[in-house]
Homo-oligomer: 134 residues x 3
């Protein structure tokens, strides 16, 4: 099975931030030359995640961050001394990867879908791995 | 690597609904003829998701919808004008895809597991893509 | 495409528990001999999940369980007679699988990442399937 792998970095500027990375992933897929298969987008961090959501109205992203804060608030009962337990919880809720079907050499995303890097404990420079199986 | 791809549609009748799609996916896998590999079930929508859960007692599905409503309520602070921000949040919490191992030409689901299309902003006609890598 | 498959069991001792399984998965990957590809870790249960999170400070795991309980509490309105609806909901929130890139014959996890089996309705003996595509 042909496998193509390439990584890139993203830089967040706020403590919680949702960054569109569709173009970066699409560009790596093009370089891979794969026509059919699966594209795995994976982040090796434990206070971040990869999500797929609407890429049209930026208000959706603000509302997602509002929802994230509500789902995983800072709680006085947390034990972890670094204080970023809400970020660890969100990382497992959203998950470190998304698998996207490849069709005719392209990411077969829906019309409104974009791929997002979700920062839960920024600002930081983060890594994203793209593994293409075709 | 052999790749087989086929799509189908599902129709929801309520604003939130959990629809069993195991048979549709199993039927596409049979047509693919693949014996081992991974079956990726992917929905290209941003207010829907794919989940795996119990397919025995329908009460579990009602309870999941109760849980979904509790996790992502309508909040007055949301900015997105369409009013479906709770559906976008749930879409990223549950995720747009599930990857299921294939064994002896069959979906290797657990005894109680079924594959579900989760509608968070219905009623609508929706698309599900099945990508089989074998 | 070469596919290697092997299962193992984990035993939980509490109602909610997060168990590190990185070594079990890495050992199966080594036996597979695959150098590049994807490793799918899948649990066939509907009241459990697979997650990736920090494997350094055990406090993070306690905090995750605190977060899980907060996200999916026992609610009087649940219909399912077994009483484990919170466990079913958490199973779909975290999800039954994780896909991890393989690089140079190894799980390409981040420095702090470990693979976890999440028990939401224990104690029980549970099954984990590892499907390697390389």
């Amino acid at each position: 099975m042909p496998v193509y792998r390439e990584d890139f970095t993203v830089e967040s500027h706020r403590s919680k931030e949702v960054l569109l990375i569709t173009q970066e992933v699409a560009s790596i897929l093009r370089k891979s030359g794969m026509q059919e298969g699966i594209c795995l987008v994976y982040t090796p961090h434990t206070t971040a995640a990869i999500a797929i959501n609407e890429a049209a109205d930026p208000d959706v992203l603000d509302d997602m961050i509002l929802g994230f804060n509500r789902l995983s608030p800072s709680l006085i009962q947390y034990s972890h001394k670094e204080g970023n337990s809400p970020a660890h919880l969100l990382s497992s809720l959203i998950g470190p990867s998304e698998a996207i079907p490849i069709k005719d050499g392209k990411l077969d995303l829906g019309l409104w879908q974009g791929i997002y890097f979700c920062e839960f404990d920024g600002p930081r420079v983060r890594k994203v791995a793209v593994q293409v199986l075709g």
